[in-house]
């Protein structure tokens, strides 16, 4: 296969770069907001009252149990039937935040449960209130334990953001698909789109690895 530089420069790359901006505009807020919602949801499911726990568990079971594509199509195509409208971008963003926070909450919950009872006892013995114990002792430790799992979820998010094209949100995958249908150059287009995703995931992996290193505490993760 001879690389058609003119096609790349004139048609494909400008379209994909446009799409990349939309993808990043989806991925970055979804991962940040989803991460914090995941922490809140994970805390609620671990420390909440029985009612709060059950509500959190039910939400997570529902979100994890239904394919993301269905959730996305439901938000964009079904909700308008009851008068709730989103434009394609916000429908995608909302469904990604919902999905990623449910998964993040599971990593966070696991990490919270792994904190040893003694740490909590020591904090109480010093006069910490429950909220202070959670904020200053449990979360800093749990965050470090949760980091690898939460990072993994962000990597997933980068890739499943490509589902946004299902609701006509013109992100990387959507732009690629249009160019491919217009030119029938499936090989070049999907190969290049794949490289774009690979590049995004690689950058995210490097950032996450750097973060893990920065958060490292001697002897802590070994336990």
């Amino acid at each position: 296969m001879i690389i058609d530089v003119a096609f790349l420069e004139a048609d494909l790359l400008p379209a994909l770069n446009r799409g990349l901006q939309v993808s990043l505009a989806l991925i970055i807020p979804a991962s940040v907001i989803g991460f914090f919602c995941g922490i809140l949801l994970g805390c609620a499911r671990t420390f909440g009252s029985p009612l709060v726990k059950r509500a959190g568990d039910a939400f997570t079971a529902l979100v994890r149990g239904v394919p993301l594509a269905i959730q996305l199509l439901f938000i964009y195509y079904a909700l308008p039937k009851i008068g709730i409208y989103f434009d394609p971008f916000f429908a995608a963003l909302l469904s990604f935040i919902i999905c990623t926070s449910a998964y993040q909450s599971e990593y966070v919950r696991g990490a919270l449960l792994s904190i040893r009872k003694g740490q909590i006892l020591a904090a109480k013995a010093l006069g910490f209130t429950n909220v202070q114990t959670i904020l200053w002792i449990i979360i800093p430790q749990a965050a470090r334990r949760a980091l690898p799992g939460c990072g993994n979820e962000i990597i997933y998010l980068i890739k499943y953001s490509s589902l946004a094209y299902l609701v006509t949100c013109m992100e990387l995958m959507g732009e690629g698909k249009v160019v491919a249908s217009d030119t029938f150059r499936f090989m070049e287009v999907f190969f290049t789109v794949g490289l774009y995703y690979l590049a995004m995931v690689s950058v995210a992996s490097i950032l996450l690895h750097w973060l893990e290193k920065k958060a490292h505490i001697p002897g802590f993760s070994a336990r």
Binding site: Q119, L121, K124, L126, G127, T129, Q132, Q141, G219, F220
Partner: protein
């Protein structure tokens, strides 16, 4: 030693299901006293100490600190109470994610509301007192058992507690490290710190305890000063236990 009573715990009882863990245990402490809890494992020593710090809420009984009865149902009152009654654990329970100095300063900042600078200064002073100035920036995993326990002392003492509860502070230590921790306790005692300690260090008890409290099956069986319980020719359950430990 003054006669001023600091702590009075009366008729403390605790049961878990059908099992009676503590049965009508009472204790009064005057300023500067060091009372020692001894007895076989499972006697309820640790549980009694945890009840004295309200880490476990007793089913029955009352606690009075400096003449003020404690309302065990009020979370706020419990937190205030615990800042005044320090606790040293057998397994140290240092915060794993914090350096030695941050272990000492975090409660000063978050619970007592000291500024970063003041909390740090106070923490440095306390670490210096237990000879750990050089280890201030190390994490718990980088410290020896004896050093960890000394950080735990610095952390508890930084809160200026009225009373210190010690739950077998030397039991998890290698034999050669026991001395450095006992020295800290000896210094504290000579500085007039009021303490209740569960321990099996019998020789140490004899030298330093104001009173020995012998527990078995959740009950206080005998109490008195070391001489009346362990003196020559005395037949007591405490002495029997003492002898059995010494013969090991």
């Amino acid at each position: 030693m003054s006669d001023e009573q600091i702590l009075l715990a009366e008729h403390i009882g605790l049961r878990v299901g059908d099992k009676i863990i503590l049965d009508d245990c009472s204790l009064s402490l005057k300023k500067g006293e060091l009372k020692v809890l001894i007895g076989p494992s499972g006697a309820g020593k640790s549980t009694f100490l945890q009840c004295l710090n309200l880490l476990q809420t007793p089913d029955t009984g009352s606690i009075t600190l400096e003449g003020h009865p404690l309302d065990m149902k009020k979370p706020r009152a419990l937190c205030d109470y615990r800042t005044k009654v320090g606790m040293i654990f057998q397994d140290f329970k240092l915060f794993d994610h914090l350096t030695a100095i941050d272990n000492v300063s975090i409660a000063l900042k978050k619970v007592k509301g000291l500024s970063e600078k003041n909390a740090r200064q106070r923490a440095e002073t306390e670490l210096d007192r237990v000879n750990l100035t050089d280890q201030a920036t190390l994490y718990p995993a980088q410290l020896s058992g004896g050093q960890k326990q000394r950080v735990a002392f610095a952390r508890a003492l930084a809160m200026d507690p009225l009373i210190l509860l010690l739950d077998e502070p030397t039991s998890a230590l290698d034999p050669e490290l026991v001395g450095e921790v006992l020295q800290v306790i000896r210094d504290l005692s000579s500085r007039g710190m009021t303490m209740v300690m569960a321990t099996h260090q019998m020789d140490f008890i004899r030298q330093i305890a104001s009173e020995i409290i012998f527990m078995e099956h959740g009950r206080i069986l005998e109490q008195g000063n070391p001489e009346t319980l362990l003196g020559d020719g005395i037949q007591s359950r405490t002495k029997q236990f003492y002898t059995s430990l010494a013969s090991v």
